[in-house]
Protein backbone atom coordinates (compact mmCIF):
# COMPACT_ATOMS: atom_id res chain seq x y z
CA UNK A 1 0.00 0.00 0.00
CA UNK A 2 1.13 3.58 -0.69
CA UNK A 3 2.96 4.82 2.44
CA UNK A 4 1.02 8.10 2.28
CA UNK A 5 -2.33 6.29 2.23
CA UNK A 6 -1.10 4.15 5.13
CA UNK A 7 0.15 7.25 6.96
CA UNK A 8 -3.12 9.12 6.49
CA UNK A 9 -4.81 6.49 8.66
CA UNK A 10 -2.74 7.75 11.59
CA UNK A 11 -3.78 11.39 11.19
CA UNK A 12 -1.66 13.64 13.38
CA UNK A 13 0.40 12.01 16.12
CA UNK A 14 2.08 14.20 18.75
CA UNK A 15 4.50 12.28 20.98
CA UNK A 16 6.13 13.69 24.10
CA UNK A 17 6.73 17.09 22.55
CA UNK A 18 8.55 19.63 24.68
CA UNK A 19 9.42 23.16 23.64
CA UNK A 20 11.23 25.65 25.83
CA UNK A 21 11.72 29.37 25.25
CA UNK A 22 14.27 30.67 27.72
CA UNK A 23 13.48 29.02 31.04
CA UNK A 24 9.78 28.61 30.23
CA UNK A 25 8.29 25.32 29.08
CA UNK A 26 5.80 26.43 26.45
CA UNK A 27 4.94 22.83 25.56
CA UNK A 28 5.67 20.15 28.11
CA UNK A 29 5.75 16.44 27.26
CA UNK A 30 2.60 16.78 25.19
CA UNK A 31 1.16 13.70 23.51
CA UNK A 32 -2.12 13.27 21.65
CA UNK A 33 -3.55 12.08 18.36
CA UNK A 34 -5.99 13.65 15.93
CA UNK A 35 -7.67 10.88 13.96
CA UNK A 36 -8.93 10.81 10.38
CA UNK A 37 -12.65 11.16 9.86
CA UNK A 38 -12.99 13.24 13.02
CA UNK A 39 -12.83 16.88 14.00
CA UNK A 40 -10.50 17.30 16.96
CA UNK A 41 -10.80 20.44 19.06
CA UNK A 42 -7.57 21.77 20.52
CA UNK A 43 -8.36 23.93 23.53
CA UNK A 44 -6.39 25.89 26.05
CA UNK A 45 -6.19 29.38 27.51
CA UNK A 46 -4.18 32.11 25.82
CA UNK A 47 -0.48 31.29 26.01
CA UNK A 48 -1.11 27.63 26.81
CA UNK A 49 1.02 26.44 23.88
CA UNK A 50 -1.60 25.65 21.22
CA UNK A 51 -0.12 27.81 18.48
CA UNK A 52 3.41 26.68 19.28
CA UNK A 53 2.29 23.05 19.09
CA UNK A 54 0.68 23.69 15.71
CA UNK A 55 3.85 25.38 14.47
CA UNK A 56 5.88 22.39 15.61
CA UNK A 57 3.51 20.11 13.68
CA UNK A 58 4.20 22.13 10.55
CA UNK A 59 7.96 22.44 11.07
CA UNK A 60 7.73 26.18 11.59
CA UNK A 61 9.21 25.67 15.05
CA UNK A 62 11.51 22.95 16.30
CA UNK A 63 10.65 20.80 19.30
CA UNK A 64 13.37 20.39 21.93
CA UNK A 65 12.18 16.83 22.52
CA UNK A 66 9.59 14.53 21.04
CA UNK A 67 8.17 14.29 17.58
CA UNK A 68 5.11 15.00 15.48
CA UNK A 69 4.05 13.02 12.46
CA UNK A 70 1.39 14.07 10.00
CA UNK A 71 0.12 11.32 7.72
CA UNK A 72 2.86 9.08 9.07
CA UNK A 73 5.82 11.37 8.36
CA UNK A 74 7.47 14.48 9.69
CA UNK A 75 6.03 17.49 7.86
CA UNK A 76 9.36 18.29 6.21
CA UNK A 77 9.57 14.72 4.87
CA UNK A 78 6.22 14.84 3.11
CA UNK A 79 6.91 14.76 -0.63
CA UNK A 80 4.23 17.34 -1.44
CA UNK A 81 3.27 18.91 1.90
CA UNK A 82 0.58 21.31 0.71
CA UNK A 83 -1.23 18.44 -1.01
CA UNK A 84 -1.34 16.59 2.33
CA UNK A 85 -1.78 19.32 4.96
CA UNK A 86 -3.71 22.58 4.76
CA UNK A 87 -3.05 25.10 7.48
CA UNK A 88 -4.52 28.35 8.71
CA UNK A 89 -2.32 29.78 11.44
CA UNK A 90 -2.63 33.56 11.39
CA UNK A 91 -5.67 35.63 10.46
CA UNK A 92 -3.55 38.46 9.10
CA UNK A 93 -0.83 36.67 7.16
CA UNK A 94 -1.46 38.70 4.01
CA UNK A 95 0.13 41.64 2.26
CA UNK A 96 -2.52 44.36 2.61
CA UNK A 97 -1.79 45.77 -0.84
CA UNK A 98 -2.30 42.49 -2.66
CA UNK A 99 -5.68 41.23 -3.88
CA UNK A 100 -7.21 38.08 -2.44
CA UNK A 101 -7.00 36.38 -5.83
CA UNK A 102 -3.31 37.21 -6.21
CA UNK A 103 -2.63 35.97 -2.68
CA UNK A 104 -4.11 32.60 -3.60
CA UNK A 105 -2.34 32.53 -6.96
CA UNK A 106 0.97 32.94 -5.14
CA UNK A 107 0.10 29.95 -2.94
CA UNK A 108 -1.09 28.03 -6.00
CA UNK A 109 2.17 28.74 -7.86
CA UNK A 110 4.24 27.46 -4.95
CA UNK A 111 2.07 24.36 -4.52
CA UNK A 112 1.74 23.60 -8.22
CA UNK A 113 -2.05 24.03 -8.08
CA UNK A 114 -4.02 25.23 -11.12
CA UNK A 115 -5.58 28.70 -11.46
CA UNK A 116 -9.00 27.10 -11.85
CA UNK A 117 -8.70 25.74 -8.34
CA UNK A 118 -8.08 29.30 -7.07
CA UNK A 119 -11.38 30.43 -8.56
CA UNK A 120 -13.08 27.34 -7.17
CA UNK A 121 -12.00 27.91 -3.56
CA UNK A 122 -12.79 31.63 -3.79
CA UNK A 123 -16.32 30.58 -4.66
CA UNK A 124 -16.41 28.00 -1.87
CA UNK A 125 -15.61 30.60 0.79
CA UNK A 126 -17.88 33.25 -0.74
CA UNK A 127 -15.15 35.66 -1.76
CA UNK A 128 -15.56 35.58 -5.53
CA UNK A 129 -17.01 39.10 -5.61
CA UNK A 130 -14.24 40.52 -3.43
CA UNK A 131 -11.39 38.52 -4.96
CA UNK A 132 -9.85 41.42 -6.84
CA UNK A 133 -10.02 43.90 -3.96
CA UNK A 134 -6.97 44.63 -1.83
CA UNK A 135 -6.83 42.43 1.27
CA UNK A 136 -6.20 45.59 3.34
CA UNK A 137 -9.84 46.50 2.69
CA UNK A 138 -11.15 43.11 3.88
CA UNK A 139 -12.93 42.64 7.21
CA UNK A 140 -11.47 40.17 9.72
CA UNK A 141 -14.12 37.65 8.69
CA UNK A 142 -13.19 37.99 5.01
CA UNK A 143 -9.53 37.50 5.89
CA UNK A 144 -10.43 34.35 7.78
CA UNK A 145 -12.29 33.09 4.72
CA UNK A 146 -9.29 33.88 2.55
CA UNK A 147 -7.00 32.10 4.98
CA UNK A 148 -9.31 29.09 4.94
CA UNK A 149 -9.37 29.18 1.13
CA UNK A 150 -5.56 29.03 1.22
CA UNK A 151 -5.69 26.05 3.59
CA UNK A 152 -7.97 23.99 1.34
CA UNK A 153 -6.35 25.10 -1.92
CA UNK A 154 -4.38 21.87 -2.35
CA UNK A 155 -7.46 19.79 -1.40
CA UNK A 156 -5.51 18.24 1.50
CA UNK A 157 -6.72 15.30 3.61
CA UNK A 158 -5.35 16.89 6.81
CA UNK A 159 -6.31 20.35 8.09
CA UNK A 160 -4.65 22.29 10.91
CA UNK A 161 -6.63 25.43 11.73
CA UNK A 162 -5.85 27.96 14.45
CA UNK A 163 -8.98 29.84 15.52
CA UNK A 164 -10.69 29.58 12.12
CA UNK A 165 -13.98 31.03 13.35
CA UNK A 166 -12.43 34.24 14.72
CA UNK A 167 -14.19 37.27 13.29
CA UNK A 168 -16.77 35.29 11.33
CA UNK A 169 -20.42 36.29 11.55
CA UNK A 170 -22.98 33.65 12.63
CA UNK A 171 -23.61 32.62 9.02
CA UNK A 172 -19.87 32.36 8.40
CA UNK A 173 -19.42 30.23 11.51
CA UNK A 174 -22.26 27.98 10.40
CA UNK A 175 -20.79 27.59 6.91
CA UNK A 176 -17.32 26.92 8.30
CA UNK A 177 -18.73 24.28 10.65
CA UNK A 178 -20.64 22.59 7.86
CA UNK A 179 -17.56 22.59 5.65
CA UNK A 180 -15.33 21.09 8.35
CA UNK A 181 -17.93 18.48 9.31
CA UNK A 182 -18.28 17.55 5.66
CA UNK A 183 -14.50 17.25 5.21
CA UNK A 184 -14.25 15.04 8.29
CA UNK A 185 -17.13 12.93 7.02
CA UNK A 186 -15.10 12.42 3.84
CA UNK A 187 -12.23 11.05 5.92
CA UNK A 188 -10.14 14.19 6.52
CA UNK A 189 -8.25 14.72 9.74
CA UNK A 190 -9.30 18.12 11.09
CA UNK A 191 -7.53 19.74 14.05
CA UNK A 192 -9.07 23.03 15.16
CA UNK A 193 -8.01 25.30 17.97
CA UNK A 194 -10.64 27.65 19.26
CA UNK A 195 -11.66 29.85 22.15
CA UNK A 196 -15.32 29.68 21.22
CA UNK A 197 -16.40 26.86 23.50
CA UNK A 198 -20.03 26.91 22.40
CA UNK A 199 -18.86 26.54 18.82
CA UNK A 200 -16.45 23.75 19.79
CA UNK A 201 -19.34 21.83 21.37
CA UNK A 202 -21.20 21.96 18.06
CA UNK A 203 -18.20 21.17 15.89
CA UNK A 204 -15.82 18.66 17.36
CA UNK A 205 -15.86 14.91 17.89
CA UNK A 206 -12.76 14.77 20.07
CA UNK A 207 -11.13 17.21 22.43
CA UNK A 208 -7.56 17.84 23.48
CA UNK A 209 -7.20 20.39 26.27
CA UNK A 210 -3.87 21.82 27.33
CA UNK A 211 -2.86 24.24 30.04
CA UNK A 212 0.63 25.66 30.47
CA UNK A 213 1.80 23.39 27.69
CA UNK A 214 0.62 20.21 29.36
CA UNK A 215 -2.23 17.89 28.47
CA UNK A 216 -5.02 18.26 31.00
CA UNK A 217 -7.79 16.34 29.25
CA UNK A 218 -8.39 14.42 26.08
CA UNK A 219 -11.09 12.14 24.79
CA UNK A 220 -14.31 12.25 22.89
CA UNK A 221 -16.56 15.20 23.55
CA UNK A 222 -19.22 12.81 24.80
CA UNK A 223 -16.84 11.16 27.28
CA UNK A 224 -15.59 14.43 28.63
CA UNK A 225 -19.03 15.94 29.06
CA UNK A 226 -20.61 12.87 30.68
CA UNK A 227 -17.77 12.14 32.97
CA UNK A 228 -19.39 13.54 36.11
CA UNK A 229 -22.20 12.01 38.17
CA UNK A 230 -24.78 14.04 40.04
CA UNK A 231 -25.73 12.66 43.48
CA UNK A 232 -28.30 13.86 46.03
CA UNK A 233 -28.75 12.35 49.47
CA UNK A 234 -29.97 13.40 52.96
CA UNK A 235 -26.60 12.04 54.29
CA UNK A 236 -24.47 14.13 52.00
CA UNK A 237 -21.41 14.37 54.29
CA UNK A 238 -21.27 10.60 54.81
CA UNK A 239 -21.70 10.04 51.09
CA UNK A 240 -18.95 12.51 50.33
CA UNK A 241 -16.60 10.73 52.67
CA UNK A 242 -17.38 7.30 51.17
CA UNK A 243 -16.89 8.52 47.59
CA UNK A 244 -13.64 10.30 48.38
CA UNK A 245 -12.40 7.22 50.20
CA UNK A 246 -12.84 5.29 46.95
CA UNK A 247 -10.83 7.85 44.96
CA UNK A 248 -13.63 10.06 43.71
CA UNK A 249 -13.41 13.82 43.50
CA UNK A 250 -16.43 15.69 44.79
CA UNK A 251 -17.79 19.18 44.31
CA UNK A 252 -20.73 20.35 46.40
CA UNK A 253 -23.41 21.87 44.19
CA UNK A 254 -27.05 22.84 44.78
CA UNK A 255 -27.50 20.64 47.85
CA UNK A 256 -25.91 17.63 46.17
CA UNK A 257 -22.54 16.49 44.90
CA UNK A 258 -20.94 16.34 41.51
CA UNK A 259 -18.64 13.29 41.54
CA UNK A 260 -15.78 12.76 39.11
CA UNK A 261 -13.27 9.97 38.80
CA UNK A 262 -15.72 7.14 39.44
CA UNK A 263 -18.19 5.54 37.09
CA UNK A 264 -21.88 5.93 37.92
CA UNK A 265 -22.15 2.16 38.56
CA UNK A 266 -19.25 2.30 41.05
CA UNK A 267 -20.87 5.17 42.93
CA UNK A 268 -24.19 3.33 43.10
CA UNK A 269 -22.49 0.22 44.50
CA UNK A 270 -20.49 2.22 47.07
CA UNK A 271 -23.60 4.01 48.29
CA UNK A 272 -25.55 0.75 48.47
CA UNK A 273 -22.74 -0.97 50.41
CA UNK A 274 -22.60 1.94 52.85
CA UNK A 275 -26.37 1.85 53.35
CA UNK A 276 -26.81 5.51 52.45
CA UNK A 277 -30.19 6.69 51.23
CA UNK A 278 -30.11 8.20 47.75
CA UNK A 279 -32.52 10.78 46.31
CA UNK A 280 -30.82 11.08 42.96
CA UNK A 281 -28.01 9.44 40.99
CA UNK A 282 -27.64 10.65 37.43
CA UNK A 283 -25.16 11.44 34.72
CA UNK A 284 -24.08 15.02 34.84
CA UNK A 285 -23.12 16.48 31.47
CA UNK A 286 -21.63 19.73 32.64
CA UNK A 287 -21.16 22.51 30.18
CA UNK A 288 -17.86 22.53 28.33
CA UNK A 289 -17.22 26.01 29.67
CA UNK A 290 -17.55 24.80 33.24
CA UNK A 291 -15.20 21.90 32.57
CA UNK A 292 -12.76 24.04 30.66
CA UNK A 293 -12.51 26.53 33.51
CA UNK A 294 -11.93 23.70 35.94
CA UNK A 295 -9.25 22.11 33.76
CA UNK A 296 -7.39 25.33 33.21
CA UNK A 297 -7.90 27.48 36.30
CA UNK A 298 -6.11 25.41 38.92
CA UNK A 299 -2.30 25.12 38.78
CA UNK A 300 -2.65 21.48 39.86
CA UNK A 301 -5.48 20.68 37.52
CA UNK A 302 -3.30 19.31 34.80
CA UNK A 303 -2.19 16.46 37.01
CA UNK A 304 -5.55 15.52 38.44
CA UNK A 305 -7.99 15.87 35.56
CA UNK A 306 -6.38 13.96 32.77
CA UNK A 307 -8.84 11.75 30.98
CA UNK A 308 -7.70 9.03 28.70
CA UNK A 309 -9.39 8.86 25.32
Amino acid sequence: MDPLVQGLKQGIVVEQVTKTYGDRNVVDSLSFQACPGRVTGFLGPNGSGKSTTMKIMLDLAKADHGSVTVAGARYRDLPDPTAVVGALLEANAFHPGRSGRNHLRILADAAGVSRDRVDEVLGQVGLDDAADRRVGAYSLGMRQRLGFAGAVLGDPPVLVLDEPANGLDPMGIHEMREMLRSLAADGCTVLVSSHLLAEVELLVDDLVVINRGRLVASGTLAELREEATWVRSPAIEQLSSVVQGAGGVVDPADGGLVVRGLAIEEIGQLVCDAGIALHELSSHAGSLEERFLRWTSSPDAEDSEEVAP
Binding site: A61, T82, E90, N102
Partner: protein
Amino acid sequence: MIGVPLLRSELRKLATTRMPLAFVAVLAVIAAVNAAAVTWGTDFDGSKTFVSTSADQRSLIAFGSNAVIIAGLFGAIAVAREYGHGTVIPTFLSSPRRHRAVLAQYGAVATGGALIGLVGAALTVLAVALALTTTEFSFMVSTAGVVRVLAAATYAGAAGAVLGAGIGAVVRNAGGAVTGTVLALIVAPPLTVQLINDASSWVPAPLAIALAGVDPEAASVERLPNAFGAMVVLAMWALVPALIGMVTVGRRDVV
Protein backbone atom coordinates in the same frame (compact mmCIF):
# COMPACT_ATOMS: atom_id res chain seq x y z
CA MET B 1 17.75 23.37 -6.97
CA ILE B 2 15.38 26.30 -6.47
CA GLY B 3 12.33 24.83 -8.18
CA VAL B 4 10.41 26.71 -10.85
CA PRO B 5 7.07 26.76 -8.94
CA LEU B 6 8.65 28.45 -5.91
CA LEU B 7 10.51 30.96 -8.07
CA ARG B 8 7.31 31.75 -9.97
CA SER B 9 5.51 32.24 -6.67
CA GLU B 10 8.20 34.61 -5.38
CA LEU B 11 8.24 36.60 -8.61
CA ARG B 12 4.47 36.95 -8.42
CA LYS B 13 4.82 38.25 -4.86
CA LEU B 14 7.07 41.03 -6.13
CA ALA B 15 4.86 41.82 -9.09
CA THR B 16 1.54 42.04 -7.23
CA THR B 17 2.22 44.97 -4.91
CA ARG B 18 2.99 48.62 -5.57
CA MET B 19 6.57 48.41 -4.32
CA PRO B 20 8.12 48.02 -7.81
CA LEU B 21 6.31 51.16 -8.97
CA ALA B 22 7.75 53.09 -6.04
CA PHE B 23 11.24 51.99 -7.04
CA VAL B 24 10.66 52.91 -10.70
CA ALA B 25 9.62 56.36 -9.47
CA VAL B 26 12.92 56.65 -7.56
CA LEU B 27 14.83 55.64 -10.72
CA ALA B 28 12.97 58.29 -12.73
CA VAL B 29 13.85 60.94 -10.13
CA ILE B 30 17.54 59.98 -10.26
CA ALA B 31 17.53 60.16 -14.06
CA ALA B 32 15.86 63.57 -13.88
CA VAL B 33 18.48 64.81 -11.40
CA ASN B 34 21.23 63.66 -13.78
CA ALA B 35 19.52 65.45 -16.67
CA ALA B 36 19.21 68.62 -14.60
CA ALA B 37 22.87 68.40 -13.65
CA VAL B 38 23.86 68.15 -17.32
CA THR B 39 21.54 70.97 -18.38
CA TRP B 40 22.26 73.48 -15.66
CA GLY B 41 25.35 72.23 -13.84
CA THR B 42 28.87 73.54 -14.45
CA ASP B 43 32.38 72.98 -13.16
CA PHE B 44 34.03 75.50 -10.81
CA ASP B 45 35.21 77.54 -13.75
CA GLY B 46 31.73 77.78 -15.23
CA SER B 47 32.47 75.34 -18.08
CA LYS B 48 30.88 71.98 -18.73
CA THR B 49 34.12 69.98 -18.69
CA PHE B 50 32.41 67.21 -16.69
CA VAL B 51 30.58 66.11 -19.87
CA SER B 52 33.19 67.13 -22.40
CA THR B 53 34.67 63.69 -23.15
CA SER B 54 33.38 60.21 -23.73
CA ALA B 55 35.06 59.04 -20.48
CA ASP B 56 33.38 61.83 -18.48
CA GLN B 57 29.98 61.01 -19.93
CA ARG B 58 30.48 57.32 -19.28
CA SER B 59 31.36 58.06 -15.66
CA LEU B 60 28.15 60.11 -15.39
CA ILE B 61 25.87 57.41 -16.81
CA ALA B 62 27.52 54.52 -14.92
CA PHE B 63 24.51 53.68 -12.75
CA GLY B 64 26.03 50.64 -11.05
CA SER B 65 26.84 52.21 -7.68
CA ASN B 66 23.31 53.63 -7.46
CA ALA B 67 21.94 50.27 -8.57
CA VAL B 68 23.69 48.45 -5.72
CA ILE B 69 22.19 50.74 -3.12
CA ILE B 70 18.67 51.04 -4.56
CA ALA B 71 18.39 47.33 -5.33
CA GLY B 72 19.87 46.59 -1.90
CA LEU B 73 17.00 48.50 -0.28
CA PHE B 74 14.56 46.72 -2.62
CA GLY B 75 15.87 43.29 -1.61
CA ALA B 76 15.90 44.16 2.09
CA ILE B 77 12.30 45.43 2.08
CA ALA B 78 11.01 42.62 -0.15
CA VAL B 79 12.32 39.89 2.15
CA ALA B 80 11.87 41.56 5.55
CA ARG B 81 8.24 42.47 4.87
CA GLU B 82 7.52 38.77 4.27
CA TYR B 83 8.18 38.24 7.95
CA GLY B 84 6.35 41.40 8.96
CA HIS B 85 3.19 40.44 7.07
CA GLY B 86 3.47 36.73 7.94
CA THR B 87 3.37 35.79 4.25
CA VAL B 88 6.54 33.81 4.75
CA ILE B 89 4.47 31.19 6.62
CA PRO B 90 2.68 29.77 3.54
CA THR B 91 6.01 29.90 1.73
CA PHE B 92 7.66 27.71 4.35
CA LEU B 93 4.60 25.45 4.44
CA SER B 94 5.02 24.89 0.71
CA SER B 95 8.73 24.33 1.16
CA PRO B 96 9.55 23.07 4.66
CA ARG B 97 13.14 22.61 3.50
CA ARG B 98 13.58 26.31 3.97
CA HIS B 99 16.80 26.76 2.03
CA ARG B 100 14.83 26.12 -1.16
CA ALA B 101 12.32 28.82 -0.28
CA VAL B 102 15.11 31.24 0.62
CA LEU B 103 16.93 30.48 -2.64
CA ALA B 104 13.72 31.19 -4.52
CA GLN B 105 13.39 34.50 -2.65
CA TYR B 106 16.97 35.38 -3.55
CA GLY B 107 16.37 34.39 -7.17
CA ALA B 108 13.28 36.59 -7.36
CA VAL B 109 14.85 39.64 -5.72
CA ALA B 110 17.98 39.20 -7.86
CA THR B 111 15.72 39.35 -10.93
CA GLY B 112 13.99 42.42 -9.52
CA GLY B 113 17.32 44.02 -8.60
CA ALA B 114 18.71 43.32 -12.06
CA LEU B 115 15.67 45.03 -13.59
CA ILE B 116 16.13 47.99 -11.26
CA GLY B 117 19.75 48.28 -12.38
CA LEU B 118 18.88 47.92 -16.05
CA VAL B 119 15.91 50.31 -16.02
CA GLY B 120 17.78 52.81 -13.84
CA ALA B 121 20.77 52.80 -16.17
CA ALA B 122 18.60 53.00 -19.28
CA LEU B 123 16.63 55.95 -17.89
CA THR B 124 19.87 57.68 -16.91
CA VAL B 125 21.44 57.13 -20.35
CA LEU B 126 18.28 58.45 -21.99
CA ALA B 127 18.03 61.46 -19.68
CA VAL B 128 21.70 62.39 -20.07
CA ALA B 129 21.57 61.94 -23.86
CA LEU B 130 18.51 64.20 -24.05
CA ALA B 131 20.01 66.77 -21.69
CA LEU B 132 23.23 66.91 -23.71
CA THR B 133 21.25 68.32 -26.65
CA THR B 134 20.89 71.53 -24.61
CA THR B 135 24.69 71.81 -24.37
CA GLU B 136 27.50 72.24 -26.84
CA PHE B 137 28.45 68.56 -26.43
CA SER B 138 26.93 65.56 -28.14
CA PHE B 139 26.48 62.12 -26.62
CA MET B 140 29.87 60.53 -27.16
CA VAL B 141 29.69 57.14 -25.44
CA SER B 142 29.91 54.32 -27.96
CA THR B 143 27.19 51.70 -28.31
CA ALA B 144 29.53 49.12 -26.80
CA GLY B 145 30.17 51.49 -23.90
CA VAL B 146 26.44 51.95 -23.31
CA VAL B 147 25.88 48.20 -23.44
CA ARG B 148 28.60 47.69 -20.86
CA VAL B 149 27.13 50.37 -18.60
CA LEU B 150 23.72 48.70 -18.83
CA ALA B 151 25.20 45.24 -18.19
CA ALA B 152 27.22 46.51 -15.24
CA ALA B 153 24.17 48.16 -13.67
CA THR B 154 22.13 45.00 -14.22
CA TYR B 155 24.75 42.87 -12.49
CA ALA B 156 25.26 45.40 -9.70
CA GLY B 157 21.51 45.59 -9.16
CA ALA B 158 21.20 41.83 -8.86
CA ALA B 159 24.13 41.70 -6.41
CA GLY B 160 22.77 44.58 -4.35
CA ALA B 161 19.33 42.98 -4.15
CA VAL B 162 20.75 39.68 -2.91
CA LEU B 163 22.85 41.52 -0.33
CA GLY B 164 19.76 43.38 0.91
CA ALA B 165 17.72 40.16 0.89
CA GLY B 166 20.32 38.46 3.08
CA ILE B 167 20.16 41.32 5.57
CA GLY B 168 16.34 41.25 5.42
CA ALA B 169 16.31 37.52 6.16
CA VAL B 170 18.50 38.04 9.21
CA VAL B 171 16.75 41.15 10.57
CA ARG B 172 13.14 40.20 9.56
CA ASN B 173 11.91 43.75 10.07
CA ALA B 174 11.62 46.20 7.18
CA GLY B 175 12.90 49.22 9.12
CA GLY B 176 15.79 47.29 10.59
CA ALA B 177 16.65 45.73 7.24
CA VAL B 178 16.74 49.12 5.52
CA THR B 179 18.97 50.46 8.30
CA GLY B 180 21.23 47.40 8.02
CA THR B 181 21.51 47.79 4.26
CA VAL B 182 22.31 51.49 4.51
CA LEU B 183 24.97 50.67 7.11
CA ALA B 184 26.43 47.92 4.90
CA LEU B 185 26.44 49.89 1.65
CA ILE B 186 26.78 53.54 2.62
CA VAL B 187 28.23 53.84 6.12
CA ALA B 188 30.55 50.84 6.43
CA PRO B 189 32.54 51.19 3.14
CA PRO B 190 34.11 54.64 3.85
CA LEU B 191 34.85 53.58 7.43
CA THR B 192 36.52 50.43 6.13
CA VAL B 193 38.58 52.45 3.66
CA GLN B 194 39.68 54.79 6.45
CA LEU B 195 40.91 51.81 8.45
CA ILE B 196 42.37 49.87 5.50
CA ASN B 197 43.43 52.15 2.69
CA ASP B 198 44.03 49.24 0.27
CA ALA B 199 40.34 48.37 0.52
CA SER B 200 39.33 51.50 -1.39
CA SER B 201 38.91 49.62 -4.68
CA TRP B 202 37.02 46.70 -3.17
CA VAL B 203 33.94 48.34 -1.71
CA PRO B 204 30.69 48.25 -3.74
CA ALA B 205 30.70 51.69 -5.41
CA PRO B 206 34.15 51.46 -7.07
CA LEU B 207 33.47 47.83 -7.95
CA ALA B 208 30.31 48.83 -9.82
CA ILE B 209 32.20 51.64 -11.55
CA ALA B 210 34.94 49.22 -12.57
CA LEU B 211 32.33 46.86 -14.02
CA ALA B 212 31.05 49.67 -16.23
CA GLY B 213 34.55 50.17 -17.61
CA VAL B 214 34.82 53.73 -16.34
CA ASP B 215 38.21 55.40 -16.58
CA PRO B 216 39.59 55.82 -13.01
CA GLU B 217 40.61 59.42 -13.69
CA ALA B 218 37.10 60.33 -14.89
CA ALA B 219 35.69 58.71 -11.77
CA SER B 220 38.20 60.59 -9.57
CA VAL B 221 39.59 57.40 -8.02
CA GLU B 222 43.19 56.28 -7.79
CA ARG B 223 42.72 52.87 -9.36
CA LEU B 224 40.00 50.34 -10.11
CA PRO B 225 40.11 46.54 -10.24
CA ASN B 226 39.65 44.74 -13.54
CA ALA B 227 36.10 43.81 -14.52
CA PHE B 228 36.39 40.12 -13.63
CA GLY B 229 37.86 40.87 -10.23
CA ALA B 230 35.15 43.47 -9.62
CA MET B 231 32.48 40.95 -10.60
CA VAL B 232 33.81 38.31 -8.20
CA VAL B 233 34.24 40.68 -5.26
CA LEU B 234 30.81 42.26 -5.76
CA ALA B 235 29.35 38.76 -5.79
CA MET B 236 31.10 38.09 -2.48
CA TRP B 237 29.56 41.25 -1.00
CA ALA B 238 26.17 39.77 -1.91
CA LEU B 239 26.77 36.13 -1.09
CA VAL B 240 28.17 36.52 2.42
CA PRO B 241 25.03 38.16 3.91
CA ALA B 242 22.87 35.91 1.72
CA LEU B 243 24.51 32.82 3.16
CA ILE B 244 24.23 34.14 6.71
CA GLY B 245 20.56 34.86 6.02
CA MET B 246 19.94 31.37 4.69
CA VAL B 247 21.60 29.68 7.66
CA THR B 248 19.74 31.92 10.10
CA VAL B 249 16.36 31.25 8.48
CA GLY B 250 17.01 27.51 8.53
CA ARG B 251 17.78 27.48 12.23
CA ARG B 252 15.26 29.92 13.59
CA ASP B 253 11.63 29.29 14.52
CA VAL B 254 8.99 31.22 12.62
CA VAL B 255 7.16 33.10 15.37
